[in-house]
């Protein structure tokens, strides 16, 4: 479903990603962990070309994103993204946030888009907030709307960029619960996270990134209980 080949990203003279080879199968939930600056967010953002890779290839569902002939807007419809700071559209209600792209990009009729939007808000437990503006919602509610917004394009892959990092602790659970539901339904997910509990419980595979490379990967069991690499052990001991 997702494949990267020798993915390199430089910011000026700084090498952020040093050749990442990675494969995520359909229905798989992969969590990426690592210290800040390890390149995990940059890697995720390369998967829908919010960052343009310096070299290497990214394939989503068989389409090579880095091929200049590819219509990136089409591919992005298949990859939903959830951001650390939610990035909801503040001038639109929760429902309008969810229906904007289906209306404008997929050209759904207002009625169809509304139905889809309401169903998704119900799915994330926010039916009663359809007409609330983002500023009237808590962080956890905003992030759930953001997930519904991404799902409205019916993506094949969901990319999560530290979805709970800017939430108050008591709101982390409600967002993780929605993500667990998604995982259970078989959604392919790539999740950059500091929530080791989530990674342990939900992930099929955990990647440990260090200085722009995948230093270690394995099942949550392998990574958390018996990490092979000294650096992985050091990182885990610091945050667990």
């Amino acid at each position: 479903m997702i494949e990267t080949r020798n993915l390199v990203k430089n910011f000026g003279s700084l090498e952020v990603l040093k050749g990442i080879n990675c494969r995520i199968r359909e229905g798989e939930v992969v969590c990426m962990i690592g210290a800040s600056g390890s390149g995990k967010s940059t890697f995720l953002r390369c998967l829908n070309l919010l960052e343009q890779p310096t070299s290497g290839e990214v394939y989503i569902d068989g389409v090579c994103l880095t091929d200049p002939k590819v219509d990136i807007n089409k591919v992005r419809q298949k990859t939903g993204m959830v951001f650390q700071l939610f990035n909801l559209f503040p001038h639109k209600t929760a429902l309008e946030n969810v229906t904007l792209a289906p209306k404008k990009v997929l050209r759904l009729s207002p009625k169809e888009a509304d139905e889809r939007g309401r169903a998704l808000l119900a799915k994330v437990g926010l039916s009663d907030k359809a007409h609330a503006y983002p500023s009237q919602l808590s962080g956890g509610q905003q992030q759930r709307v953001a997930i519904a917004r991404a799902l409205a394009m019916q993506p094949k892959v969901m990319l999560f960029d530290e979805p709970t990092s800017s939430l108050d602790p008591e709101m982390v659970g409600e967002v993780l619960a929605v993500m667990k539901d998604l995982a259970r339904e078989g959604m392919t997910m790539a999740v950059v996270t500091h929530e080791m509990g989530f990674a342990r419980e939900v992930a099929d595979r955990v990647l440990f990134l260090h200085e722009g490379q995948i230093l270690e990967e394995g099942t949550p069991q392998e990574i958390f209980s018996s990490p092979r690499e000294e650096r992985t052990r050091a990182f885990l001991s610091k945050i667990l």
Binding site: N48, L50, N73, K74, R76, Q77, T79, G80, M81, F83, L85, N87, L88, F89, P90, H91, L100, A101, K104, V105, A146, R149, A150, M153
Partner: protein, 231 residues
Amino acid sequence: MDIAIQILPTLLLGAEVTLRLTVISVSIGCVIGLFMGLARLSKSRILRAVGTAYVDFFRGTPLLVQALVIYFGIPQLINDFQTWLAVTYDIPRFQTFRFDIWAAAILVCSLNSGAYIAEIFRAGVQSIERGQMEAARSLGMTHVQAMRYVILPQAFKRVIPPLGNEFILMLKDTSILSAIGFVELTRRAQLINADLVAPFPIYITAALIYLAMTLTFSRLVDWLERRLKTE
């Protein structure tokens, strides 16, 4: 005081011209400013250069000189060109070109305010968090769709107060057009003074009319700003 009351109706006619010119010019300036502001943010180097040259020229030269160039300079250029065509290619001359003074006034003020408004729009768009564009693009919207449905509606809200200020500045600056003989409020006052020779009551009345207009608008802008904040 008697003079002030006597001339007030005539001055108010001038004020109406001033107000009308300002409203028309700032409206056209908004359209120019939107496109030029977006041009300055464009990926294309040519568009950026065009936007920058435009803004630099109209912000970097005095309105009075711009008015002189457009009202007197451009017609000369056109007429000289006609003469050259007539002499070189034997093409018959049209009528001698002269600017309608309203057209010249609107052109000068629109182009001038367009440059300031371009900067207002540019700053407004740049003030929208980067995450908004990223969220829109991540949903598959094109750059144009993201601008139109996500960035610009938010930017418009933020630029209302500076646009109000630009309106007030333009309202005062239109007095410069009295120098090319455009009969707005200031020119009216000068004409009355040529007749009655009572500069103090005449000019202070004109000043108070300007003040009444600018105060009304700045209160309106304040009110709008407060309303937008509470939303």
